[in-house]
Symmetry: C2
Subunit: 215 residues, 2 copies
Amino acid sequence: MISWTARSRKSHAHRRPRRGRPPRPPEEAEARQRLIRAGLIHLTEKGYTATGLDEILREARVPKGSFYHYFDGKPAFGAALIEAYHQYFAARLDRFLTDDPCPPRPHRRLHRRRRRGMARHGFRRGCLVGNLGQEMGALPEDFRARLSAVLQDWQARTATCLRAAQTTGAPSQDPDQLAAFFWIGWEGAVLRAKLDRSAAPLHTFAQGFLALLTP
Amino acid sequence: MISWTARSRKSHAHRRPRRGRPPRPPEEAEARQRLIRAGLIHLTEKGYTATGLDEILREARVPKGSFYHYFDGKPAFGAALIEAYHQYFAARLDRFLTDDPCPPRPHRRLHRRRRRGMARHGFRRGCLVGNLGQEMGALPEDFRARLSAVLQDWQARTATCLRAAQTTGAPSQDPDQLAAFFWIGWEGAVLRAKLDRSAAPLHTFAQGFLALLTP
C-alpha cells in the first residue's frame, strides 16, 4: 500500500496556483474531481482507515505527485470528501423539499432514491458520514465536529420542511425532534442495508417513520 | 504495530488442549477472557481495521505466543468477539424482558443502561456489531452472516416480548416489524451518540420509538 504522507505546504508550494493567477485549466479541476469521486467510492465502501492512497490514485488515474498538488495528506482529503458529500446531499434534499414540500412525500422520495442508489452498487456503499462516524475513535479529532455539523445541517433542512407543512401540535410531533429522529434512524437503516445487502431495512425504517408522521 | 499473522493450526497444535484432556486451568481461561475483554474495548472504540495486535496484547497483559494459543489469527479473534458480545447482550435483553415483559418498560431499561454504559466510557465505545457492520467492505466476508445473525437474534427476542404483550392489531404494530425498526434505529442512535459524545441521540430515538408503541 502506498503510504499517505502528510507533506508540508512549503515543499510543493511552487506547484500551487498563486493569488491573481488565471483559474485552473479544465483538466486540473477534472483531476481533483476524479480524486474526490474515487475517494467517495472507497470511503463509502470501506471507511477511512482501510482505504489506501494507491487505490485512490489508480481509480482516479492520477499520479501521486498530483494528489499532493490538491491535498496536503489523508486528513485534508477526508475533509474535502466530507464537504463534497455534505453539499451533494444538501442540494438533493433541498430539491426534494422544494419540488414537493408536503411530508411524507419528500421522505418517500429520499427513501426511493437511496434504495435505488444502494441497489445499483450491490449495497456495498454506505453513507460517508455514518462510516466515518463509526470510525471516529481512529480518525483525526476535528472530523467529529465536521461530521456532526453535516448531520445537524441535514436535520435542520428536514425540520424546516416538517415545520412548514405541520398542522398538528402534539408534543411527539415536534419538527426538530422528528427530524433528529429521522436522521438518527436513517443512518442506522443505511448501515443495516449495507450489512444485509438488502433494501428491506431502508423500507422498514421509512415505514415506521411515516407512521409517526401520520397522527 | 505488531502484525496479525494467520498461523496454521498445525504450527501450534502441540499447545492446544486435546480431546479427553482435563479442562483448562483457571489462569488459561482467564487469559483468554482478558484477550476478549481487551478486544471488545478496542473494537467498540475504533473498529476492526484500526486495531493492532500490540494494543490488545498490552491491554490483556498476554504475550504474543499465548494469543495464538487461543486464536488462529485476527479473523478468528474477531469471530470470538462477535460471539461474546452477542451472548452478553442476549442475556441482558432476556433479563430485562423476563423481569418486566410489558413494553415499553424493557425498552426504557435498555435505553437507560446503554446511556449509562456509554457515558461511563465518555461515549467513546459504540456497538461492536454496528462498528463491524459499517466496516464490512474491509472485513472477512463470513463476518456478514455472523453480524446479521446477531441482529436477527436480538430482534427475535424483542419481537417475542412485543408479541406477548400486544393487544392491538394495527398493521403498523406488527411485532416483527416493530422489533426490526427498533434495532435498525437503535444502531443509528448508538453511532450518533458516539459521534456527538452525548446521550441525546439515544434519548431522541427511544422517545420516538416509545411513541410508536403507544397507539
